[in-house]
């Protein structure tokens, strides 16, 4: 994003977490409330990024391991004659998906709680900031009208 820009910028999805990173703009005259909002958003972004990057990496890795072990059990190689990676069909993968989901359920429950709390807090702060800005704008207009 260009240096002179006065708003936040959002980028393409991250390779690992699939989340879109945001670069927050911090104006010089940022109030304490606005700073709290920006920091809350940055923290949430960082926490989400960590969680999903790690989770997706684990998924990919465990999936590879699962496929490898299944293929070995069947006596096949990872790559067939044409050099393409051998895959398992959906029914065989179903066992892996079920397993992975149940293993990670606890982790997800905790993440959900965390995410909901953050989401509410950020939205509430946004509301406060918007309200403050609106009042300020109204006060300025009143002053202009009076003058």
């Amino acid at each position: 994003p260009p240096a002179h820009s006065r708003c936040d910028w959002i980028g393409p999805p991250d390779r690992h977490s699939h989340l879109r990173p945001v670069i927050f703009y911090a104006p010089a005259e940022e109030s304490a409330l606005e700073r709290r909002l920006r920091e809350a958003r940055q923290e949430a972004q960082a926490s989400n990024q960590r969680f999903w990057a790690r989770h997706n990496r684990a998924f990919r890795q465990e999936k590879e391991e699962f496929i490898y072990s299944r293929l070995k059990a069947k006596g096949l190689e990872m790559r067939d004659e044409s050099g393409q990676k051998a895959t398992l069909n959906a029914e065989e993968m179903a066992d892996f998906y079920k397993d992975f989901l149940s293993k990670n359920l606890e982790k997800h429950l905790q993440y959900n709680r965390d995410w909901y709390k953050r989401n509410f807090r950020i939205t509430f702060l946004m509301g406060q900031v918007a309200l403050v800005r609106a009042l300020r704008w109204l006060r300025r207009r009143k002053k202009n009208v009076e003058q």
């Binding site: 999805p13 990919r60 909901y116």
Partner: protein
């Protein structure tokens, strides 16, 4: 359906597929490509067929859904699940290892077959060429500034407008089936109120699910995920739709309908959405969410909760299961990775059993309709073929448990419901008939009005 299959999809779409496949590094086996091609065809055909059905069925109106006639339902459950835009395919793949790419593409394809985003289907159909440019656009950094001309489109996607339209059409079906003289103002108020309530519920759902939506292919392009709108605005929009919607229902129609609307919003946003990540019970809750709109339509017309309303709700409730379970069969990888507790992942046997069970229940419920004096006896007879067909597909799905049977069942459910409701409407027992038989006390128009406007 066979007639529709003879339609030729636009060349542009096929071209897109080829372009897409060439652009990925995945080496596709030719038969895989053909499969995708057919899937694309199917989707378009479904879309065309659907449009036809929609127009046919429009005594009323038309998010989703993505995933059944689940109003305000979440993407998964309601029939009205959102379709993925074609350009999503492109972005998907370079991030994913070749092994999973095949599954990924298929799951995308199947998710695209959902009834929801007909709009995006139209967009991608119309804008065949710019799709390539879109994916490049997506890779750029964008300002998080709200543009007013984009706002209607963004809000439409936020509220899953297509799903909402379908929900409103089930409400209209409920209204139409009620054994009272048709009242236009009441009908319009009920439809509008339900539509607003549905928009609100869908927006809150998207507000809650941002990081999960980013990780699932079907939902990657939602406005909150892309940062096109701030969470605050999404909540304000939801409030500004929901509060007037419920108020309209309570004051303009009747308090019972308003209460049902509010309850449905609560059920969808506060029960179904969190429950999706906690237990498989979410599917049953979601089916109830889908069943309530026709009940709302009925209560809007009659002002009371009769057996007829419950029957209509029951039909929608039963319909949700074959629809959703068949759909979720193809999305198991995304659900597993995203942390969603769905029957298709954790209890696959149960998933198929439940789908079959409810297909059969539909036959039973259709037979109950004339007993309750809602329709004539021609209804179970005429609807028997389509109910038997969906039960047959449900049985095939139960026995084979593979993606072709799940897809067949899903597509069948898409046309089965509108057709069933249409047949029901045409077989509706006329109010005059009942009055002549002395079953109903003669209602004067004024008393009818009194019931509806407290």
């Amino acid at each position: 359906m066979s007639a529709a299959r003879r339609c030729r999809p636009p060349r542009a779409l096929a071209g897109l597929f080829v372009w897409h496949l060439r652009n990925t590094d995945v080496r596709q086996i030719p038969c895989q490509f053909m499969h995708l091609y057919h899937v694309a065809n199917d989707r378009l055909i479904t879309f065309q067929y659907f449009n036809f059905l929609k127009r046919m069925y429009v005594t009323q109106c038309n998010k989703d859904l993505s995933q059944r006639a689940k109003p305000k339902s979440d993407p998964i459950v309601s029939p009205f699940h959102e379709l993925q835009q074609l350009d999503q395919e492109k972005k998907v793949v370079h991030k994913i290892s070749p092994v999973s790419a095949v599954h990924q593409l298929w799951s995308e394809a199947s998710s695209r077959n959902k009834w929801g985003e007909l709009k995006s289907a139209a967009e991608t159909k119309d804008s065949g060429i710019p799709v390539g440019a879109e994916s490049k656009e997506d890779r750029r950094w964008k300002e998080m500034k709200l543009r007013l001309d984009d706002l209607p489109g963004i809000l439409a996607r936020l509220s899953k407008i297509k799903l909402t339209a379908l929900v409103v059409s089930t409400t209209s079906a409920g209204f139409a089936m009620a054994p009272v003289p048709f009242e236009l103002t009441c009908f319009l108020l009920a439809s509008l109120g339900t539509g607003l309530a549905s928009c609100a519920a869908n927006s809150i759902n998207q507000f809650f699910e941002v990081p999960f939506d980013s990780n699932m292919n079907r939902t990657k392009n939602r406005p909150l995920v892309r940062g096109q709108i701030s969470p605050l605005l999404a909540v304000c929009f939801a409030a500004s739709c929901g509060i007037p919607g419920i108020a309209l229902l309570t004051l303009g129609v009747n308090p019972l309908t308003g209460a049902l609307g509010a309850f449905n919003i609560f059920l969808y946003t506060c029960c179904y959405t969190p429950l999706k990540r906690m237990s498989i019970a979410n599917t049953w809750v979601g089916a109830v969410v889908g069943a309530i709109p026709p009940i709302m339509g009925w209560t809007a017309a009659t002002g009371s909760l009769d057996a007829g309303a419950l029957l209509l709700g029951g039909i929608l409730y039963s319909w949700q299961f074959p629809h959703f379970n068949a759909l979720s069969w193809g999305l198991r990888e995304d659900y597993s990775r995203g942390g969603y507790c769905m029957m298709s992942v954790t209890h696959p046997g149960l998933c198929r059993r439940v789908a079959l069970r409810h297909c059969l229940a539909l036959i039973g419920l259709s037979a109950v309709a004339p007993v309750l004096d809602i329709t004539t006896w021609t209804f179970p007879v005429v609807s028997l073929p389509i109910n038997l067909y969906i039960s047959y597909l449900g049985f095939r799905f139960y026995r084979d448990a593979d993606r072709s049977s799940s897809r067949k069942l899903f597509f069948c459910s898409l046309w089965h419901l509108p057709m069933l409701l249409l047949v029901m409407f045409t077989c509706k027992k006329s109010v005059l008939e009942k009055e002549d038989k002395g079953d109903l006390p003669r209602e004067s128009p004024e008393t009818a009005m009194e019931i509806r406007l407290p």
